[in-house]
């Protein structure tokens, strides 16, 4: 990637981005939690089925 820097900036992260970080992780975390919940239900069949 020719026009891209090779090291992250040393500038400290902006605290105003915290809500955005939380939103982004919730965006991907919520469906993943749903998938894991469904998985646990199936895994129980190994011990009860």
């Amino acid at each position: 990637m020719t026009s891209e820097a090779s090291v992250p900036s040393s500038t400290p992260p902006d605290r105003r981005r915290v809500p955005l970080i939380l939103f982004a992780w919730l965006w991907v975390g919520a469906p993943l939690a749903y998938g894991l919940y469904e998985l646990v239900l199936k895994v129980r069949q190994l011990f009860t089925g």
Binding site: S6, P8, P12, Y34, E38, L46
Partner: protein
């Protein structure tokens, strides 16, 4: 669409969810089997025919990752993610049209060909960006994203099933389900397109923090090898063999997990029911996903070569235990299979960081794409070995655990081959290192500064 350079103060913790939004979506590919039975009854297809969109999708994943890698490096992750979004979503929309009109070839073309390009470009799109943001923890960073590929099926499988239950399993219901998939995945992946940023160069004008910032990271140094040079090195091909052997060993169990556990304990006092076998398959998926984040993060601590020694060496030992004692103890069988599957996932997730250690960050995404051809071969090899051997043994009148003894011995042999290949990996010779010409380096520097401080 210019390179999305991070503004000052951009948090690197926004990059993993951007990558996850893409990987969790394209991971849906592993849940294709949900659509197979309804398609077979609605369009009068055989099992082989209904598998075609998935198979073509995986072939296209390998091809587009191998041949699109340099394009991704040149154009950056945002453009790559956009292409992945458009291809993956339009694949579903074309398939919806195919299901609605009863034209199966449109489903093969849409989901398999167009969607498959989205799989390949999407898979490699965030890898090099993550490594650049997390040079201190590349294994963990790529592990998070590649864990998403494993997690995608966990989400899609129940979600798609519920959708088919609601819309119906005829052509109209399948078309509606494809349509909703295409639209929802487009929205879901757009977060990745919007959030992805490449780290900016430290400029002279940047104020230096008084103390080390929480997110400051060490400068990334080491060899920088281009994708074209990398494939001429023995290190690339040794790692190719390592990945191929590790994936083959994992797929060998994954592909036949349900009938395998049923066969192993069919003649015992505690046979495994169909629903318990389904639970075993789900548990393997969890181990596969946990291995991706767990083992790749461990590789940041113990080193890439050592973690592959564990995958291949301990993996062979686990196969040996299953082959010798697997049918005597259900917990032992389950634990060994879980460990093997965690190594399978770990192997996928650790390989980008291994490539970064060997070849640097210069074109690591493109090199990763080319290495994924090992996956394509393993995807054929693993199931072929286990199924052929099991069929041959069945024809010879054998049953139960003896159906798999020979294939497990073959897997142990393959893991030993992978172990030896890993031992042969040495640092790349400096003659392969990429040295930018002074003029090109100056142009690159000017380009970065212009994008960060536009006139």
């Amino acid at each position: 669409m210019s390179m999305p350079i991070a503004p000052p103060g951009w948090s690197r913790w926004l990059v993993p969810p951007a990558a996850l939004s893409v990987h969790l979506s394209i991971g849906q590919a592993y849940a294709w089997s949900v659509f197979k039975p309804p398609l077979e009854s609605a369009l009068d297809l055989t099992g082989t025919q209904s598998a075609l969109p998935f198979q073509l999708g995986i072939v296209m994943l390998g091809l587009s990752a191998a041949f699109g890698g340099r394009w991704v490096e040149r154009n950056g992750p945002r453009r790559a993610m956009t292409v992945a979004l458009v291809c993956f979503s339009s694949g579903f929309l074309i398939s919806a049209l195919g299901a609605a009109t009863g034209q199966y070839w449109l489903i093969v073309l849409g989901y398999g060909f167009v969607g498959g390009i989205g799989l390949g470009i999407g898979y490699i799109s965030p890898v090099s960006t993550l490594i650049k943001w997390f040079p201190d923890r590349p294994g963990m960073a790529t592990g998070i994203a590649i864990m998403g590929f494993g997690g995608g099926a966990l989400i899609a499988s129940p979600w798609s099933t519920q959708m088919l239950d609601s819309f119906g399993r005829d052509g109209h219901g399948i078309a509606l389900a494809f349509l909703v998939h295409g639209l929802v995945y487009a929205v879901f992946m757009s977060l990745g397109v919007l959030l992805i940023r490449v780290p900016r160069a430290p400029l002279a004008a940047d104020p230096l923090p008084a103390a080390p910032a929480a997110e400051s990271v060490r400068t990334d140094t080491g060899p920088q090898v281009s994708a074209n040079s990398a494939i001429r090195t023995p290190q690339f091909w040794c790692l190719w063999v390592v990945l191929c052997m590790n994936v083959t060993a994992g797929i060998g169990i994954l592909e036949k997990a349900a009938p395998m556990i049923t066969d192993f304990f069919s003649g015992t006092s505690a046979p495994v029911s169909v629903s318990a076998a389904a639970g075993f398959v789900a548990l393997l998926s969890a181990a596969n996903m946990a291995g991706r984040i767990g083992w790749s993060s461990t590789s940041d601590l113990i080193g890439r070569k050592n973690v592959y020694r564990v995958y291949l060496g301990v993996g062979a030992l686990m196969y040996l235990l299953i082959a010798w004692f697997g049918d005597t103890s259900k917990p032992l069988f389950v634990i060994c299979a879980l460990v093997i599957l965690s190594f399978y996932g770990g192997g996928f997730a650790t390989v980008p960081a291994y490539l970064k250690d060997l070849f640097g960050t210069y074109e690591v995404g493109a090199i990763h794409g080319r290495l994924l051809t090992a996956w394509s071969l393993a995807g054929v090899l693993g199931p072929l070995i286990v199924n052929r051997v099991a069929d041959a043994q069945k024809e010879a009148g054998k049953s139960g655990a003896t159906l798999y003894g020979l294939s497990f011995t073959i897997m142990i042999g393959l893991l030993v081959v992978g172990f030896v290949a890993n031992e042969l990996i040495r640092p790349v010779h400096p003659r392969h290192h990429h040295i930018p010409s002074p003029r090109k380096a100056a142009d690159d520097e000017r380009s970065v500064r212009t994008e960060q401080h536009p006139a």
